[in-house]
Amino acid sequence: MTASEFAHSIPPGFVLLIGAGLVPLLRGRLRDAYLLMLPVVGLLHLVSLETGSYVQTSVLSLEIIVLRVDQIALIFGYIFYIATFVSVIYALHVKRAFEHVAALTYAGSAIGAVFAGDLITLFVFWELTAVTSVFLIFGRQTPRAYRAGMRYLVVQIGSGVLLLAGTILHYLDTNSVEFGHLGIVSPATTLIFIAFGVKCAFPLLHNWLQDAYPEATVTGTVFLSAFTTKLAVYALARGYAGTEMLVWIGATMTAFPIFYAVIENDLRRVLAYSLNNQLGFMVTGIGIGTEMALNGTISHAFSHILYKALLFMSMGAVLYRVGTIKGSELGGLYKSMPWTATFCIVGAASISAFPLFSGFISKALIITAAAENGYFITWLILLFASAGVFHHSGIKIPYFAFFAHDSGKRCEEAPRNMLVAMAIAAALCIGIGVYPHVLYSILPFPVDFQPYTPTHVLTQLQLLLFSALAFAVLIRTGVYPPELKSTNLDSDWLYRRLGPLAVGAVLRRVDHAAGLLKNGAKTQLKELVDGISRHHGPEGAMARTWPTGATALWVAILLGAFLVASFYV
């Protein structure tokens, strides 16, 4: 086997998975260099792969394809490695080795999953992403983070179990575990669909995301934002492209998190909601399923990973320096952290899809595909959602953190490694926005789309400028209150005028009712556990040290039952 053949037999994720093992042994600058080297080596390895090369083995009499290279896998591989590289730079100052190991193995698992050619391999990496990423949440080392991490783990493992169950059934149905187009055609593929949906944070399956991401470490959230959900988007795009249901699921996903994002005070949680909203665009694209829509989904995933990471990085830097990320306690930080503020605005412009920023050239593909394929209502929802994104991510995030009322907080600018990471991400955001054809050229399908036509640019600018105008008027007239000490922003009357709050209030009510139900269920559950504990606890009947006679009795009973059954039935 030649060296290049050997290189081609290594699944890309293993570069990080195995490479992470050495991290605890290294210290200081050597470790920094090693950490930076890993994603670069991985990316070079990826570039050297040729499409179509497979690593096949047979395990448990199943055809396992550990490595399958095609255009859609490659593009996710590229962006995952780029995200790893940027996030690693951002996390360089972290001393504890286990956080680096967790982050690298997590990224490696996600990359491995993308190149999985069969459902079993996919499942293995699927679960690995869950098990490794939870340490990025535990790493915060607060009781809150611990509990959020446990909830996250339960959901993620649950998703894996569904995937496995679906896989087994699919194997029994079709005698194959290859991961190609599945479609919702049988109970098996439905289970797999739900498994993907959990990880993709479909509406009503989404709570783990907003619950866990804001509780993770400063650097951990940046990693988390890049991989888990985009892996799910990839899996959906591969398995369920053109599934009509996804159009509606996606449209719902774009719209409903906006209301939550508006009433949320924890700015990293706001970003988590807007992450959900962005996923909605991608899911819609998958549902439409045309070449253009899929191109849109994939390119949107590509640019989304960058600007979302950029936003999480800037908010992480604020949290790192100030110690809080509550919108009501921040403000005026542009004086202390001018660079962070600038990068944050670049991220905000990208997510809001300003022309010349990355979001514009990718989101346009999806929205145009929706319009061209006759999804008029979907198209309207997507436009509304675009305006919503601009409101909560484009304006709210930078405004409350860096401008608004001066909180009087003064701190240092973000650490140098964080600034470098943000600078790279920001440069990529702008680069993609200015030179869209670089990104278009690596998409799986040929792109026949010109983002910078007068119509596109004008429509988008109208949308954005009117949003901005509304915001500016509200600020000018003093309706937008400068101080927000309460954590419950939704109690603020202003938002009622804008409408969403009405929905917000309803949602709160529902939450409240759900809370009451939950408490009821809790008492019931406690009684159940107490009951079990009475029988199974250390002193319970099941665990007591029984007299010898009990066994003799059981032996007699079993023998008797067995003989009676055999003789007379």
Binding site: F123, I168, T545, W546, T551, A552, V555
Partner: protein, 493 residues
């Protein structure tokens, strides 16, 4: 020349070494003999396995007496696999034993410990290798009597009661087994297993044979800790010396399960068991109840050794569940789980032994914050626990995979669901330990523990790594188990 006598040497080597230990009267030489013999036994077992896979069943006539009259040792892929499990576990446990024995057992009894250990090994290997029904009983008693002694050497006073209870209960089981063998002898006039198998057909429908079948399965059910005949097991495992727990938990119940497989499938035949008796239904019901009842009980245990002991009862349930499908896939799952469970429980009990070595306790409250104090030991425990839960890439996953596949093959959906559900219970009890060790601060009034010595860590990690190796490369274990299942079901192999 010597290769022809491997079958005999497998049993004779430890049998002769046991009195040698008594003659040595010193702990360390006796230990060295035990280690050497365990390794020799492993080498022989591997040789036998290779031979069986290459040339088929080996028959060895002990003392040159021809089969129906003399005692025959008969090795096929089923028991060659069991021999490999028993001797393999012993080969890692014996080096591990020294440190824990020094800590837990008074010095004047060390040589007796090793003598009993070797006798126990003799018994377990003998049960597996022999082709003679009465000989099984003899070896069963050798292994049982020596394990009563081994358990009673535990450092807590409760070890004595536990051993005594096990003695009484174990004797009931052995007696039942003997009654069954006696009834078969009465009906067929032979004790050679192969001979019995051919002669039983003629008298299959007599009540005597049915009674023999019932006595044997119930008697063995007790030895293999079939729920609810498991009452002896939790205390015996919990209070035995650390090394003994490893050896017994990883091998004793497996050998009993092997014996049941041998009697049910080879002697009586699966047709008889399926058509005439209700063994499949009984086993499946008891196995499922056992899996859940024992797992739930394990969740509430505060003595971690006892927790894992209950988990063993549950795991026996999985093996029997596989058997109760009476299909190649199910049996493959059951048999491969014999091996896989030995790997995972061996690793877990070894890690606990290392904890006991440093703390003198395995109470869950004492293990708080241990993740920082004994990182390697606790990480081994976590990995072993993941295997127990059935995470992919570990052996636990392979077992569950085959069990679920076997359930679905028969179209028994609910059972596949129950298998998955029961895995969650394992998550719960393993998590209790992980939470205590990694997320709780140690109680301040206890001295800080230091990492376990390499003599304990190396064997532990060998088993932990085996959990992953055999979880990824399943060609050896699943290959043999599949072959064994086909041999048992009489469909070639």
């Amino acid at each position: 020349m010597i290769a022809a006598h491997y079958a005999a040497l497998q049993v004779v080597a430890p049998l002769i070494a046991a009195p040698l230990c008594v003659l040595l009267r010193r702990g360390i030489p006796a230990w060295l003999v035990t280690v050497a013999i365990s390794w020799i036994a492993l080498a022989i077992a591997i040789q036998l396995l290779i031979q069986v896979l290459a040339t088929g069943t080996i028959s060895y006539e002990l003392g040159g007496w021809a089969a129906p009259w003399g005692i025959e040792y008969r090795v096929d892929s089923v028991n060659a696999f069991v021999l490999l499990i028993v001797s393999g576990i012993s080969a890692v446990t014996a080096p591990y034993a020294h440190k824990t024995v020094v800590k837990e057992i008074p010095e004047d009894r060390h040589y007796l410990f090793y003598a009993a250990y070797l006798l126990c090994l003799t018994g377990l290997l003998g049960i597996a290798i022999t082709g003679d029904a009465f000989n099984v009983f003899v070896f069963l008693e050798i292994s049982s009597l020596s394990s009563y002694v081994l358990i009673s050497l535990g450092s807590e006073r409760k070890a004595l009661t536990a051993a005594y209870q096990y003695l009484v209960m174990g004797t009931i089981g052995a007696t039942f087994f003997l009654i069954g063998v006696g009834l078969i002898y009465a009906m067929t006039g032979t004790l050679n297993m192969a001979d019995i198998a051919t002669r039983l057909d003629a008298v299959e429908n007599t009540r005597t044979v049915l009674a023999a079948f019932a006595f044997i399965t119930v008697g063995l059910g007790l030895k293999l800790a079939l729920f609810p005949l498991h009452l002896w097991l939790p205390n015996a495992y919990a209070y035995a010396p650390s090394a003994v727990t490893v050896l017994l938990a990883a091998t004793a119940t497996k050998v009993a399960i092997y014996t049941m497989l041998r009697f049910v499938f080879t002697l009586f035949g699966s047709d008889f068991a399926l058509d005439v008796t209700f063994l499949a239904e009984f086993l499946m019901a008891l196995a499922l109840v056992g899996v859940f009842a024992a797992s739930i009980t394990a969740i509430f245990q505060n003595n971690v050794k006892r927790m894992l002991a209950y988990s063993s009862v549950a795991q026996v349930g999985y093996m029997l569940l596989g058997v109760s499908f009476f299909s190649v896939t199910g049996l493959t799952g059951g048999i491969v789980h014999l091996f896989n469970h030995a790997m995972m429980k061996g690793a877990l009990f070894m890690a606990l032994g290392a904890v006991f070595y440093r703390l003198g306790s395995v109470h869950i409250d004492r293990m708080r914050g241990l993740g920082k104090q004994m990182p390697l030991t606790m990480f081994a425990f976590v990995l072993g626990g993941l295997s127990l839960i059935g995470l992919p890439l570990t052996v636990g996953f392979i077992s569950k995979w085959y069990l679920i596949l076997a359930a679905l093959e028969r179209g028994w959906w609910p059972i596949a669901g129950l298998i998955l559900l029961s895995s969650l219970l394992a998550v719960a009890y393993i998590w209790r330990v992980v939470e205590a060790a990694y997320f709780r601060d140690p109680a301040t009034h206890h001295p800080r523990a230091t990492e376990a010595p390499p003599a304990l860590l190396v064997p532990t990690w060998i088993l932990v790594l085996a959990n992953f190796y055999f979880g990824i490369d399943t060609s050896v274990t699943v290959g043999i188990a599949d072959n064994a299942a086909k041999v048992l079901l009489g469909s070639g192999g």
